[in-house]
């Protein structure tokens, strides 16, 4: 591809690419196109093998010049993956297996017949949905930050250009930097990393610093366990995020940008790297972008497995090659950041919103959302919910719509118990919070927070004390150790929680727990410590009865805490097959095949659960 030297070049190229992409989607190029999900979730589920098999099968049939095949980013509907989509008919196949490839090629590609058994079926209504846009999972979603995801080839800049990329940058470069900041301010965009600080104001601070060297840093250190929004955006459309970074650089007067990405995300890093190389080649990164005086370069830095590096000042230390420990603020990074220069640190999703705002205008952007939270938010919906995946919803949607209309409710007829948002910094919301419209301020008012966008649904089998302990284990492990309230506080909280889950807690422990939580919250240096106790506080507030059941009755109501539960075999359901006894690692199960129902010796049982997962007759339960 030739270099893009100025705005006219870009407009021309965009026009060409739009034509090509449209022709591809509509089949006007005389070809059909097969796209396959290349997100981490589907790749873990053999979509690479499916891709290769499709390519081989097409060759075998002599169709390689009639059908194009490429990967695209995440479809979002991960629990139905891997996905294969066919243009121009727009047919979506889900849960595709390697053995389905022949069928897809023979029936659909050769004979133009839809493979009915691979089409999504709504489990409630049994309606078949051959087209993605009709599936109820997508009905309430709006894609802004995920623009291009599941549509374009993330390694092909021409597809990105044909799908709106760099129109925002072209617009920005016709404006003064201050005008760009004003536009972002007007849009009401708030930081998507968790705290929700107005992005425009952050930019303004850095813009107002008189310094030749300034930096833009993109925080892609997505450490919340169970959250993968940033990764998906970088994997699905890295060009969009880079464009956001370039615009930010132009607005504050920075020439250099750094992506800080988790090392656990090899595919995202690879695609980001390729995108940066390509943009350098065609002149959209580098010196004199679009013939202006503005030059910008983007670099990648990898994390090395430290959750605290998601905290912005710790992240800066990590880029500087130090231990990832937070710095005291002030001075804020916008004044003294990376290498002591003015720096803005924006989350991946925040930057992914920026090109759209410039493209459509702040007023249009701000039409979506609530009064104080504009636009959309991406959530990684997971846990005990039917439709696990990545969803982008307008702010103001209720939690109920998220869990039931999009998530499809709780599987196996179980009861919804809680939804955890905000990861280790957030809290658990319950049935009574379900009608809350999702926005920054509402979630905080209900005792949780938006966080980066993890949303984990829990059902009646999840013990809330145990969940609090799970998060505290995580935080105690990840605490960097710099300040005492966090280093010691989280450990002591964890000890008390462990005691309670073992049935050794006292009522006074519950008071201690509360006191320690507040001390940690108020005393810690950085965001990690200040929010560390949130999972404890919110579960204590909403599920106090469960804590008391552990302490007073030595019972775990959800039967999850090992020391407070036991496995039992129902003699009426037991088919005397001995499967459980053969699978028991400690020989705790006895009985006589075909004659005598089997029994578990609670003294020998180590509560590993192997028997329950082996039994085909559902005869084993927890008590």
């Amino acid at each position: 591809m030739a270099k893009i030297r100025n705005a006219q070049d870009l407009a021309k190229k965009i026009g060409e690419c739009e034509g090509c992409l449209k022709a591809k989607f509509e089949g006007k190029d005389g070809k059909r196109a097969i796209v396959i999900c290349g997100g981490t979730g589907c790749l873990s589920n053999k979509s690479q093998d499916i891709h290769d098999a499709i390519v081989n099968k097409l060759k075998e049939k002599g169709l390689e010049n009639k059908v194009t095949v490429n990967f695209v980013g995440c479809f979002g509907f991960c629990s139905q993956g891997p996905f294969v989509k066919i243009f121009p008919e727009n047919t979506l196949y889900r849960m595709v297996k390697l053995s389905d490839v022949d069928k897809i090629i023979e029936n659909d590609i050769v004979n133009h017949q839809v493979c009915e058994d691979l089409v999504y079926v709504d489990p409630n209504t049994q309606t078949k949905y051959p087209k993605q846009e009709d599936i109820p999972f997508y009905a309430k979603q709006k894609r802004v930050a995920l623009h291009g995801s599941s549509m374009i080839d993330p390694e092909n800049v021409e597809e990105a250009l044909g799908y709106d990329s760099f129109k925002g940058l072209a617009k920005a470069l016709t404006m003064k930097p201050q005008e760009v900041i004003d536009e972002i301010l007007k849009s009401g965009l708030r930081g998507r990393g968790g705290a929700g600080f107005p992005t425009g104001r952050k930019w303004q601070f850095a813009h107002d610093q008189d310094n030749k060297m300034k930096y833009v840093v993109c925080n892609g250190d997505e450490g919340d366990p169970g959250a993968f929004m940033d990764r998906s955006m970088l994997e699905a459309n890295p060009f969009n995020v880079i464009e956001g970074m370039i615009i930010a650089g132009y607005a504050i007067g920075a020439k250099e940008g750094y992506f800080y990405v988790r090392a656990e995300y090899p595919i995202a890093v690879m695609r980001l790297k390729k995108a940066i190389e390509t943009l350098n080649k065609i002149g959209l990164l580098g010196r004199h972008i679009l013939g202006t005086d503005f030059s910008f370069q983007a670099h990648i830095r990898l994390g090395a497995g430290a959750f605290v590096c998601g905290e912005e000042t710790a992240l800066l230390n990590s880029i500087e090659g130090k231990r990832g420990m937070p710095r005291p603020r002030p001075p804020f990074p916008a004044i003294k950041g990376l290498w002591q220069k003015p720096t803005i640190i924006n989350n991946v999703e925040t930057l992914a919103n920026v090109p759209y705002i410039l493209r459509v205008g702040a007023a249009e952007y701000a039409k979506v959302g609530t009064e104080k939270s504009k636009g959309t938010k991406v959530f990684a919906l997971g846990g005990k919910v039917n439709n696990v995946g990545l969803v982008e919803v307008p702010m103001g949607l209720t939690l109920k719509e998220l869990v039931y209309d999009i998530g499809g409710g709780v599987p196996n007829g179980k009861k919804f118990k809680a939804i955890q948002t905000g990861g280790p910094s957030g809290g658990c919301l319950t049935v009574k919070n379900l009608d809350t419209p999702i926005d920054y301020d509402n979630l905080i008012a209900q005792g949780s927070m938006m966080g980066s966008g993890g949303a984990i649904v829990m059902d009646e089998d999840n013990c809330m004390v145990n969940i609090a302990k799970f998060y505290m284990e995580f935080i105690a492990d990840e605490s960097c150790g710099k300040c005492t309230p966090c280093r010691v506080g989280t450990k002591r909280i964890l000890e008390i929680l462990t005691k309670i889950t073992k049935g050794q807690g006292t009522m006074q422990d519950l008071d201690y727990l509360q006191e320690l939580s507040f001390a940690t919250k108020n005393g810690a240096l950085c965001g990690l410590g200040q929010t560390a106790a949130n999972p404890v506080l919110s579960t204590m507030k909403n599920f106090r009865d469960e804590y008391e059941a552990h302490v007073r009755d030595h019972k775990c109501p959800a039967h999850e805490c090992k020391d407070l539960m036991e496995y039992v075999i129902d003699p009426n359901k037991c088919k005397k097959c001995s499967m459980c006894a053969r699978g028991c690692p400690v020989g705790a199960i006895t009985g006589v095949v075909g004659k005598e129902a089997f029994k578990i010796d609670p003294k020998k049982c180590i509560k590993c659960g192997a028997c329950m997962s082996t039994c085909k007759f559902g005869a084993i339960s927890k008590r």
């Binding site: 873990s44 589920n45 090392a263 090395a304 880029i319 500087e320 231990r323 696990v388 995946g389 998060y471």
Partner: protein, 162 residues
């Protein structure tokens, strides 16, 4: 432990790759970890000579990040995902079983034969496949406790390509 010359040369080469970077330590350590699997003190000394940072500081960085390891890891690294989505679907029982089968005490330990290391991972992002674990780069979806002994046995008996 003496470092072979060829390894030393490679380490110096890695250090030189980042000569023009303002603060290259993390990048150098990432590359060494990736290539050699661990970063013992002797290697840190070479890095120290090359880039002029005290060994104490390098040691501080190596021990801070969980990706860097002072000891070599097993041939197969079993990473059980303990992200929230996997956890609420029972991944604790999975890792307990893995440790039990391999007779290991805790995550991070390696078997004596050098074949396995067990790690607790924080979300590999395959939440729709929960609970999951990875053995090297292969992901095992929707695990049940009863699957574990068979999977490990396949690796022990060399039925799986490394």
């Amino acid at each position: 432990m003496a470092i072979q010359n060829i390894a030393k040369e490679r380490i110096i080469e890695i250090c030189n790759l980042y000569k023009n970077e303002p603060t290259p330590l993390m990048m150098i350590l990432s590359d060494i970890q990736k290539e050699f699997g661990y970063i013992p003190l002797e290697v840190q000394e070479i890095v120290s000579e090359q880039i002029g940072l005290p060994v104490a500081e390098i040691y501080g960085v190596v021990t801070f990040y969980s990706f860097f390891s002072l000891k070599p890891k097993g041939k197969y690294v079993i990473g059980v995902c303990l992200g929230t989505a996997c956890y609420v679907k029972g991944s604790q029982a999975i890792i307990d079983k893995v440790l039990e089968v391999l007779k290991l005490k805790k995550a991070g330990d390696s078997t004596e034969d050098g074949l396995f290391t067990v790690d607790a991972l924080r979300c590999i992002g395959a939440c729709a496949l929960a609970p999951t674990m990875k053995i090297n780069d292969r992901v095992f979806p929707k695990l049940k406790v009863s699957d574990i002994p068979g999977i490990i046995k396949d690796y022990q008996e060399g039925k799986v390509e490394a």
